[in-house]
Symmetry: C2
Subunit: 268 residues, 2 copies
């Protein structure tokens, strides 16, 4: 049996630039699928395209309309291929209507001077020292992640709110699955919407655009394997129906694997 994640991002070739896929009930969200798995299936179209060059550097996914449960088609075109970089434009459609647009940058990396700057979030117990958060009444996709929060850091939806929307957690696929670019792209969207934490209550939200930058290469992802990742996210500005949040996804030994940003619609 393939992992539900692999089933959810599975694509069938319909020709040079066209792929067919389908939503998967295991990754259902309130309306349509979890945005992270939609990001992953779009990236997967480029990953398995015959003309692919190198590995993902950046991915932007724009959620233009809710996806209906069922089949979809992806158009994935390498619009410019240079010596070491490749630029993609992608759309996901149902019938004649575009539901998602995306761009991706792939590259062949070369070894250069390198240095970290952002610091690994301090003071968290290890994943093994924490319990999995048991979520009840949340959409199906949340069951596909093992999420562990430090004591006092689990989102409290008690109506009291918080001065800071900072959210930190250990997270891995459930059941465990070796990390790759597709699953890293998906986990970049796993954070509780920062507005829930800030206001202490769920409110109708929807990500309108998600951008993730990949700092890891395939070797670093392979070294992480199935172990928990450390995620951290925080909002910057909530204003008249839209807020942004920025996050980081770390390996458990302190490498920044991805940085991720999104703009989120909220209704009230």
């Amino acid at each position: 049996m393939p992992h539900d994640f692999d089933a959810a991002i599975h694509l069938t070739s319909l020709g040079e630039h066209r792929f067919a896929g389908a939503t998967h009930p295991a990754y259902a969200n309130m309306v349509g699928p979890y945005g992270g798995v939609t990001a992953a299936v779009l990236l997967n179209a480029a990953l398995q395209h015959a003309q692919r060059l190198g590995d993902p550097i950046a991915l932007t996914v724009n959620f233009a309309a809710p996806l209906a449960d069922g089949g979809f088609e992806i158009d994935a075109r390498p619009v410019r291929t240079n010596r070491s970089t490749q630029h993609w434009m992608l759309t996901l459609s149902q019938g004649d209507a575009v539901a998602v647009t995306a761009t991706a940058v792939f590259a062949v990396r070369r070894e250069t001077w390198s240095a970290p700057e952002a610091a690994f979030p301090p003071g968290l117990p290890t994943a093994a020292e924490l319990q999995r958060l048991v979520l009840k009444g949340f959409p199906a996709w949340t069951e596909r992640y093992d999420m562990r929060f430090a004591p006092g850091e689990a989102p409290r939806l008690d109506g009291r709110g918080a001065d800071s929307s900072l959210s930190r957690l250990w997270v891995r696929d459930e059941p465990p699955r070796p990390l790759d670019f597709a699953s890293l792209a998906a986990v970049c969207d796993c954070f509780f919407p920062c507005i829930f934490i800030r206001r202490g209550a769920p409110t109708p939200v929807g990500t309108v655009t998600l951008t993730s930058y990949f700092h890891a290469d395939a070797a670093l992802l392979a070294a992480q394997g199935e172990r928990h990742l450390l995620g951290s996210a925080q909002g910057q500005r909530f204003r008249d129906g839209y807020f942004d949040q920025s996050g980081q996804v770390w390996s458990d030994d302190g490498h920044l694997l991805a940085s991720t940003h999104q703009m989120v619609y909220y209704r009230e």
Copy 2:
């Protein structure tokens, strides 16, 4: 005489979704034009498109190839228009070759619960208390901004480098020009590449993708007018040819107008 910025982002309609523009020598960079002005001219195609709905919420621009000096064409398509949001796909081409791709999200905002979270950068003198940085030997576009750094905060390219790539400055168009969405999109790319500051030396770089989120509406931009904006940017991870940096653009009275992120190629 129009401002050079308006000349640089000027577009002529070639039909429903097609526009013609040209690079402008006042915004020349090392190779091709300043990325910020390229972002602005792409946004401008959507801004002046007959089917435009609302104001910009998010813009992602992917620099796929260097632009040659001279003319270009922009294809700007509203691929999905909803009740209050509109999703755009854009390409900028020279001849048959795509040089830049972009996506944009526009929206009609409604008044909702709102709150700041990111804090205005503390401890800076006002713009009036500082002197404009005089740049010599830098590309033409840097002369189109009045940039003012706090004492000790101007980038030092003395080879010594710094533990932090944090960069803060007051910045406005030169000569002054009332702020609008196009010029805000452009200023989001005005920061010194964080790798210059971190390493204390210029190194060959090129932004491969730039994402900006707009928190301001037209009224907030109009209120800012021609006064200096406060910009702040910092890198997160430098690794094997690519680094990311995130920035903020503030009004001088403390409103976060835009947050901006980019992934940058570097050669050595």
